[in-house]
């Protein structure tokens, strides 16, 4: 920032705008020493929306959450909560005045307080404290456990207490940091649905941080895919899966085969033959083919290949084949009905239309 003019003069900022977004981040930046955690992050959370910030570990998603909560000071950028400026040049509203609920990955329940005391902690000075605690216990389905201490609860119960504690003061938004990573897999799906229900009932806007693509897609209204401290793509789960913005996004949003080819308008020529493209394109491309977009058959049409690996998961089977005429191994998902054996010659062909990206110049 080299501009010497005082900010308030050059950009008059209205304090609160009606119908404003629950959260609006603009060009947020945060570094720790020489490590750039968040680099130019901008996005908006609509009221009542559940947004998932998805990305590999170290992509800056947790830092983004801590910036919004007011636990870290951004190096640069602006944060508004419900239109209220809480972080910007010469403005920093500390965490305790932001009305933001935060659920930590490790829940951070106060071990020396009962469940009730934990939930009541954010209600200091309110007359309806008892009533509110009771409401919260009902909301999260923990009636009768208010007198317990956190260590006497299961992981899923602790999670719900943490959520109840965050929701009790009626925050404008709730932030959840990897909320399900401490639960074992069997419990995760059930708790996920429960949390989704609770957030909907509370009618609160929420941001959820996760590295689990399936979790983000099944829970959130919209998913923000983060790489290297910036928002790579923001959209509905379907958008992200079907129309990824890049090869990298395609690979992160689920299994995908990147098949090299030559595009000529509405189709591309590949080792699998002609593949129809969603958007016309020219030149060297990589065609994104999800495992379910490929089909196997015994003898008829398609590219000749041989099965190199096969796994069976009950409802379906995953098959990996190597093409006979190209050094390419493809991942294919198909019905479990016909078992494909390793070494078996097969033919592969692509179904439907596919997305193509210009081939990276140094891709290997």
């Amino acid at each position: 920032m080299t501009d010497p003019t005082p900010h308030s003069i050059s950009h008059p900022l209205p304090d609160v705008a009606p119908d404003s977004d629950a959260v609006a981040c603009c060009d947020l930046r945060k570094s720790f020493g020489s490590v750039r955690a968040v680099a130019s992050l901008s996005f908006a959370l609509r009221r009542g929306e559940l947004l998932a910030l998805l990305g590999p570990s170290g992509c800056g998603k947790t830092t983004a959450l801590r910036l919004i909560a007011g636990l870290e000071r951004p190096d640069d950028g602006v944060i508004r909560l419900g239109g209220r400026l809480v972080s910007g040049p010469s403005v920093f509203v500390p965490a305790n005045r932001r009305r933001v609920g935060l659920v930590f990955q490790d829940y951070a329940l106060f071990p020396h307080m009962t469940v009730e005391k934990n939930i009541a902690y954010g209600l200091a000075g309110r007359d309806d404290r008892r009533q509110r605690v009771a409401e919260m216990l009902t909301l999260v389905g923990l009636e009768g456990l208010g007198g317990r201490y956190p260590h006497a609860l299961s992981g899923g119960q602790q999670q719900r207490v943490a959520l109840a504690r965050a929701l009790a003061p009626q925050p404008d938004i709730v932030l959840l940091d990897e909320p399900f990573s401490n639960l074992d897999v069997a419990l995760r799906r059930q708790v996920r649905e429960e949390v989704q229900r609770i957030l909907r009932e509370a009618g609160v806007s929420a941001i959820l941080v996760t590295h689990d693509q399936e979790e983000a897609m099944s829970l959130a209204d919209r998913v923000g895919l983060m790489f290297d401290g910036t928002l790579h793509q923001l959209g509905t789960p379907r958008d992200l899966y079907e129309r990824p913005a890049s090869q990298r996004a395609a690979l992160f949003m689920g299994a995908a085969n990147l098949v090299p080819g030559q595009a000529h308008g509405a189709a591309a020529r590949t080792a699998l033959g002609e593949v129809r493209l969603i958007e016309p394109c020219q030149g060297a491309v990589e065609v994104v083919l999800r495992p379910e977009n490929l089909a196997l058959n015994g003898a008829e049409d398609g590219a000749a290949a041989v099965v190199v690996r096969q796994t069976y998961t009950g409802a379906r089977q995953d098959v990996w084949v190597t093409l006979r005429d190209a050094p390419l191994t493809l991942h294919i998902t198909c019905q479990a009905g016909v078992p494909w054996g390793v070494g078996q010659p097969v033919r592969v062909h692509a179904d439907g239309v596919a997305l193509a990206f210009p081939a990276a110049p140094d891709s290997d």
Partner: protein, 525 residues
């Protein structure tokens, strides 16, 4: 108030605190530097000075060796063998730690000295004279007997942290039990042995009471004696001692670091070795140590107490010194506990070069033997405080406040360690949760962090209290005239060989120190 602003407040508090903590040592070094270089070199290379250095090193090395010889087998027996009464032996073998070195030395002299009880018993058998206990052998015996528990506890912890799978692996690879003991067990124990032995060396180097009573002229005693003759030269000796102590401290820290790296707790308890026909010998070994280091000293003190009471001594005279000791130790403990908090918070919650430096300088007291702290304050008193107190109409710079200040400089580290450990156990997410739930940072600390780290703070305060109770040299040098404590009472009674009068205060000190075992012994075994 945000965390950042609160940290600034703490910084503003801890900076002047650090200055106060560094003041005495700094002043001492300043004064030592003021000695003419030729004079300093002449003094330090004088045969008398070199003898002091030689004696100190001799004592440190021999005590370290002897404590290892006693403590390592004892630790192994109580952890890894089927020694009968392991739990009781562990407590008994740790107990000598609670006997202050000067109390133990006093008991040894009254027992084995030339006119002691043993000589009285042997006289009918025609033994006219026992060899003198004063000098090297007495100091060596006293320090060995009352400091070996440091090695014992450290090696025990090391043995308990060993992964039994490693020894089993050695056995499956065809090594004999003896080869396994040597190549696997002892090798892994080495860091624990080193750490314990270095603690003993530190204890020996900075001890004043035992060497003073045994009249063995090592650093601490030489400094104490120089005090009245030439302050500048005493300061010079002190600086040499500080350098040696600091060197040992660095070694202790490195050894500790290695120890935590090597050993780790495993849920599995190790296989115990059957002693078989060695059981009796093992019992005798442990029994002899406990007899010499615990039963005999306490027995002698009890004997003198009863003897005195029969000859008209009363216990009433002990009450006033006890009260003074309790008051001084209580104040020192409270001040240290409070002073520890800002350092610990800054070091743990706002890590950085500055806060780390501050916390480290608060640990300076570890490197300052009691005699040196006392000397530094005598210096300050004679040169600075004296004029000040006269201006305020007092004739003596010594006061309870100054005494507490000196205790705090010396013992603050003991409060810092446990408080830091307590805070490290508090997940910072708890504070942040409190923040997002609307509490200001100081309120979050008060309602969440402090209650959770309380046990650490309490342990540290208790430790300072107990060590202050039995502190000798600082009390001797700085207690105001007439401020007679248990420690000074024992000291003056011992210099007059008036054992009956020393017995009651000594037994009280031992009993109070025994409370510290609660914090030293691990609960499970």
């Amino acid at each position: 108030m945000t965390q950042r602003r609160f940290a600034l407040v703490l910084l503003a508090v801890s900076l002047p605190l650090t200055a106060l903590l560094l003041l005495p040592a700094g002043y001492l070094i300043l004064r030592a530097g003021a000695v003419e270089p030729e004079q300093a070199i002449a003094y330090l290379t004088r045969p008398g000075t070199l003898r002091v250095v030689g004696r100190s090193l001799l004592l440190v090395i021999t005590v370290a060796g002897a404590t290892c010889a006693v403590a390592i087998p004892a630790a192994w027996l109580t952890v890894r063998s089927d020694l009968r009464g392991r739990r009781a032996w562990t407590v008994l073998l740790t107990m000598p730690l609670v006997i202050p070195s000067y109390v133990g030395a006093l008991a040894l002299v009254s027992m084995f000295g030339q006119r002691g009880m043993l000589q009285g018993w042997l006289a009918p058998l025609g033994v006219e004279r026992l060899p003198s206990l004063y000098g090297f052998w007495g100091a060596w015996l006293a320090l060995t007997l009352f400091s070996y528990p440091y090695v014992f506890l450290s090696v025990r912890a090391g043995l308990r942290g060993l992964d039994p799978a490693l020894e089993e692996a050695s056995a499956t690879l065809g090594r004999s039990r003896l080869a396994t003991l040597w190549h696997v067990t002892l090798r892994q124990l080495f860091p624990s042995i080193t750490a314990g032995t270095l603690l003993v060396a530190l204890y020996t180097l900075s001890d004043f009471g035992a060497v003073a009573i045994m009249q063995y002229n090592v650093f601490t005693r030489a400094i104490y004696q120089r005090l009245s003759l030439d302050l500048g030269l005493a300061a010079l000796l002190s600086v040499v001692l500080i350098v040696l102590t600091a060197g040992l401290l660095v070694a202790v820290t490195l050894a500790e670091r290695r120890r935590t790296y090597y050993t780790r707790r495993t849920p599995r308890s190790p296989r115990r070795v059957r002693l078989g026909r060695w059981q009796a010998a093992a019992q005798a070994f442990c029994g002899l140590i406990v007899l010499l280091a615990l039963v005999a000293p306490v027995g002698v003190l009890a004997h003198w107490l009863i003897n005195g009471l029969q000859h008209g001594e009363t216990l009433r005279g002990v009450l006033a010194p006890l009260q003074r000791s309790l008051r001084a130790a209580g104040l020192a403990a409270a001040v240290s506990g409070l002073a520890a908090l800002p350092f610990v918070f800054l070091q743990v919650r706002v890590p950085g070069p500055l806060t780390n430096l501050l916390a480290r300088s608060a640990y300076l007291g570890y490197a300052l033997p009691g005699v040196v702290v006392g000397l530094a304050f005598v210096f300050l008193g004679a040169n600075v405080l004296h004029d000040l107190s006269i201006r305020f109409g007092r004739t003596d710079y010594r006061s309870l406040g100054l005494l507490i200040f000196a205790y705090t400089v010396r013992f603050l580290p003991q409060a810092l360690g446990p408080a830091r450990a307590g805070l490290l156990q508090v997940n910072p997410h708890l504070e942040e949760s409190a923040l997002t739930l609307g509490r200001s940072y100081p309120r979050a600390l008060l309602s969440v962090t402090l209650p959770l780290m309380r046990s650490g703070v309490v342990a540290g305060v208790a430790l300072v209290f107990l060590t202050t109770m039995k502190e000798l040299p600082i009390t001797l040098l700085l207690a105001p005239t007439g401020y007679d404590t248990l420690a000074t009472r024992i000291w003056s009674a011992s210099s007059e060989a008036f054992y009956a009068r020393a017995a009651a205060p000594a037994l009280i000190l031992v009993a109070i120190s025994a409370l510290s075992l609660v914090y030293i012994l691990e609960p499970d075994d």
